[in-house]
C-alpha cells in the first residue's frame, strides 16, 4: 500500500518543544498586545499611487500565528514511533472528525456572533482544525495504547 508522506518522528518532539514559546507569544500578543521591540519596522502604504502613510509595523503577531500553525502541523503530521496502517487510519479518521467539528462550531458562530466579534472568531478559526485534530488523534492513540495493556 502506498504510504502517505509524513515527517520523521523527531519532528513531533520538536513541535511539542516549540509549541510552548509560540503559544505563550500568541497569548501575550492577543491578550496584552505584547510586541517584541526588535520586530518593529517602518512601513508605508501605497494607495492610488500616493504614499499615504508612514507607520510602524510589528511582526510579533505574524510570527506567533505562523509559529503556532507550523508547530501544530509538526505535531500532527510526524510519524509515530511505530507507524503502521492502523495509526494511519486513526490519523485520517481524526482529520475527518476535526473538519466536521470545526465547521459545526463555525456554523454556530455564524448565527450567534456578529460584527467585529466575528473577525475574532475567524482569527481563532485558523487554528481550530489543527487543534481539534491533534486533541482527537492523541486521545484515540491513548485509548489504542490503553486498550491493549
Amino acid at each position: 500500500m502506498k504510504k502517505l508522506p509524513l515527517l520523521p518522528h523527531a519532528f513531533q518532539k520538536l513541535g511539542f518543544i516549540l509549541l510552548v514559546p509560540f503559544l505563550a507569544l500568541g497569548i501575550a500578543s492577543i491578550g496584552w498586545d505584547y510586541e517584541v521591540p526588535w520586530l518593529s519596522y517602518r512601513t508605508h502604504a501605497i494607495i492610488n499611487q500616493h504614499i499615504i502613510d508612514f507607520s510602524t509595523q510589528n511582526l510579533t503577531d505574524e510570527i506567533a500565528a505562523v509559529g503556532n500553525i507550523i508547530t501544530l502541523m509538526l505535531i500532527a503530521f510526524s510519524k509515530e514511533k511505530t507507524e503502521d496502517e492502523a495509526i494511519q487510519f486513526f490519523r485520517l479518521a481524526s482529520l475527518q472528525w476535526a473538519v466536521i467539528v470545526s465547521y459545526l462550531v463555525l456554523i454556530v458562530c455564524i448565527f450567534s456572533i456578529y460584527g467585529t466579534g466575528f473577525l475574532t472568531v475567524m482569527m481563532y478559526n485558523m487554528f481550530t482544525i489543527l487543534i481539534i485534530f491533534n486533541i482527537r488523534f492523541r486521545f484515540i492513540l491513548f485509548m489504542h495504547n490503553k486498550a491493549s495493556v
Partner: protein
C-alpha cells in the same frame, strides 16, 4: 468480521509482540485486530496469513451485516 488471529497465534505459539515484529506493526495494532475493532488492509491480512501458513479465508470470515 470475525477473525481467528488469536487461535492461530496460540497454535503457532506466538505472542502478540512476536507477530507484530514479523509483520512490522505495533503490538497494539495486533490487539485491536484480534478484538475486531480494526480491519486490516488486504496486504496486512495476506502477510498474517503467510506467517501462519493458512489462507486469508481461514483467518477472516464475513459476518452477517458486513
Amino acid at each position: 468480521m470475525k477473525n481467528k488471529i488469536k487461535v492461530q497465534r496460540a497454535i503457532h505459539n506466538l505472542t502478540q509482540d512476536d507477530l507484530a515484529k514479523k509483520i512490522s506493526v505495533s503490538r497494539q495494532t495486533i490487539n485491536t485486530m484480534e478484538s475486531g475493532k480494526y480491519i486490516p488492509s488486504t496486504a496486512l491480512a495476506l502477510k498474517m496469513a503467510s506467517v501462519f501458513g493458512v489462507s486469508v479465508e481461514e483467518l477472516f470470515q464475513l459476518e452477517e451485516g458486513d
